[in-house]
């Protein structure tokens, strides 16, 4: 295989909130089967980019394709892990119920999740190490367990491309390991992952591709090629003196 298949192609993506551009003319090619981190300073537009790709907000310009077809036609190939702070965890529902929501798009109208969906959800929970929590009320979960619940919901989507918004944000060591394992399993299965990531120290350890973003795309490509001091300084404006890339 000479030319790699592209899982995600973003062209000219521009998003503006009240005339102020938050994302300016971003192009991005993501080959199939890579784990790509999107890094950049606060306010760089990382979450905005994810949401614009997913069609959750309307971009001023731009085009997104998944496996060479417009995003709208390929929705069933896409999985999404939102920031866990984006929902009210006091909602009256159980962990299993939340995970089964991953299947709502495929179920269609009127139909309720059945025994097969339940089993699939239990399997997804097992993969994230939460098999014992299926019946748990979601308000009783720790932050890491909330994150793993969202991850299980995305696994339930059985997608080809996963978009994750800060999956490692404020999680415990157990959850961090669980997420890393799942990312590796996904890659082994030929899936593609795009994750907004905050911790520059772990980029080269957890991901093989990286995109540096600060309103514009600074660089993107394999970690060992583009995760350079120079690119980081461009993205972060010289405030990365703490970074010790090759220990």
């Amino acid at each position: 295989m000479d030319k790699q298949t592209l899982a995600v192609q973003v062209a000219d993506l521009t998003v503006a909130y009240q005339e102020k551009p938050v994302l300016w003319d971003v192009d991005l090619d993501v080959p199939q089967g890579v784990l790509m981190a999107i890094v950049g300073p606060n306010g760089a537009g990382k979450t905005t980019m994810l949401k614009a790709i997913l069609g959750l907000l309307t971009p001023a310009a731009g085009h997104v394709s998944i496996f060479d077809k417009p995003y709208q036609e390929q929705r069933s190939l896409v999985g999404y892990v939102p920031q866990r702070g984006s929902v009210d965890w006091d909602f009256p529902t159980s962990v299993l119920d939340v995970v089964m929501m991953g299947n709502y798009g495929k179920l269609g109208w009127v139909r309720r999740p059945g025994a097969a969906d339940r089993r699939a959800a239990e399997l997804a929970l097992e993969k994230v190490g939460m098999a014992d929590y299926a019946g748990r009320q979601i308000s009783q979960l720790s932050g890491g367990q909330q994150q793993r619940t969202f991850l299980a919901r995305a696994l339930m989507q059985d997608a080809q491309v996963y978009f994750m918004d800060e999956p490692f944000q404020g999680v415990d060591a157990t959850t961090e390991r669980a997420i890393v394992d799942i990312l590796k399993d996904l890659r082994a299965d030929g899936k593609t992952v795009l994750a907004v990531h905050h911790d520059l120290q772990t980029v080269s350890e957890y991901f093989d591709w990286v995109m540096l973003l600060n309103v514009r795309r600074i660089a993107s490509g394999p970690v060992d090629e583009v995760f350079t001091d120079e690119n980081l300084r461009t993205a972060y404006g010289g405030r990365v003196g703490f970074l010790n890339k090759k220990p």
């Binding site: 997913l54 939102p82 929902v87 009256p92 529902t93 929501m101 109208w109 308000s139 989507q157």
Partner: protein, 379 residues
């Protein structure tokens, strides 16, 4: 009149039966739809939509000259839907925050409705039409026909909730995720909000525009206290709404001056109060009890550890210590009660002259308590 006689009037008295079935339907429908409003933190939405219905009632009368509740309710419904459209458009097209828009829609629509109402009051025919009753409601005016209309529309609304159950759940919990699945979340939102208008319209005649918002928020808020399951919460909310409706109808039938709407609202408020205080897990009383129990447990454990630490300065870990010494180390709080608790568990024993010591079991327990804490530090 005894309670039994009052309840039997439900079966024997035609008027009371009609009114009570009307208010029960209103309670069920607003309870179910209000549950979603409560979970979506949209309590103000119900308020705005019910107030917005008033000009619809007045205009429906002006256009048709009809006093038929069905016509007036239709007018109220149209005004409600119009209010939703204004809300959605203003919120998405301007920088105003949703709660500001809700406040504006509420007061503009309601003010306009009041204006029309006072204008119509000059017309004796309109006075007779009793449009005023839509302000605070008058359940006594409910006829069998009205109740049938309420049942049909209420039943339809409930059926739609059942059909779109999982979509409404997803909308309430994680709208963006729903959108990422490709579901038309905006359409689902409009549908749910329209059903909320149906609930408002059903309640207008009996409870009125001013108090209707209580019927949308209170049953759901009360039900949330008792369960962590959306289905059960919605059923319970419907039950609470119906209970308040029937109780309100019965109580107001006792005295001629009691209007039903406010009595129903008082009944549901009572249910809310009881739920806030006494519901297991979420109730305030339950919380106080739990806090108190935790505090006394922690205090007991602190006393156990303190005796152990003091004794470990001696060769004998069961060396007795004076209560006063323990009080000095453990700070304020009821050391004696903690010691008695320890004695009950067989971990400490009293000696003469107000001294206490650990039993062998107590020493083991204290060591076990202190040991894992040290290990955890190294992890």
């Amino acid at each position: 009149m005894t309670l039994l006689e009052l309840l039997s009037s439900l079966l024997t008295d035609h008027t009371i039966r009609t009114v009570a079935s009307g208010t029960a339907i209103l309670g069920v429908v607003s309870g179910v739809l209000g549950s979603f409003a409560v979970l979506r933190k949209q309590s103000l939405l119900g308020d705005a939509l019910s107030h917005a219905a008033l000009p619809g009632v007045a205009i429906a009368y002006m256009l048709t000259g009809s006093k038929s509740p069905a016509v007036l309710m239709l007018g109220a419904g149209i005004a409600g839907v119009l209010a939703i459209l204004v809300l959605l458009n203003v919120t998405s097209r301007t920088r105003l925050k949703e709660d500001s828009v809700l406040g504006i829609v509420l007061s503009v629509f309601f003010g306009f409705g009041l204006l029309l109402l006072t204008f119509l009051q000059r017309n004796p025919d309109a006075r007779q039409a009793g449009l005023n009753t839509f302000l605070f409601g008058q359940a006594a005016t409910l006829l069998t026909r009205d109740v049938q209309t309420m049942a049909v529309f209420g039943g339809l609304a409930l059926l739609l909730v059942l059909v779109f159950w999982k979509e409404f759940k997803l909308l309430s919990f994680d709208r963006e995720f729903g959108a990422s699945l490709g579901l038309p979340m905006r359409g689902i939102d409009i549908l749910l909000t329209t059903l909320l208008v149906v609930a408002v319209v059903i309640g207008l005649q009996a409870v009125g525009v001013v108090l209707m918002s209580a019927m949308l928020v209170a049953p759901g808020a009360a039900a949330r206290q008792w369960t962590d399951n959306l289905g059960r919460m919605t059923l319970l909310s419907a039950l609470f709404g119906a209970l308040a409706g029937v109780a309100g109808a019965l109580v107001s039938s006792l005295g001629s001056g009691l209007s039903t709407g406010p009595v129903i609202v008082l009944c549901i408020s009572l249910i809310v109060l009881v739920s806030l205080l006494f519901a297991p897990n979420r109730g305030l009383v339950w919380n106080w009890l739990r806090q108190w129990r935790n505090r006394s447990r922690l205090r007991t454990e602190a006393v156990l550890e303190n005796i152990y630490l003091m004794s470990s300065q001696h060769a004998d870990p069961t060396h007795p210590h004076a209560v006063t010494a323990l009080e000095a180390v453990s700070g304020a709080g009821n050391v004696r009660r903690s010691l008695e608790e320890l004695q009950r568990r067989g971990l400490a024993v009293p000696h003469s002259d107000k001294k206490w010591s650990l039993t062998a079991e107590g020493v083991r327990s204290a060591q076990a308590r202190l040991q894992p804490a040290k290990d955890a530090d190294h992890e």
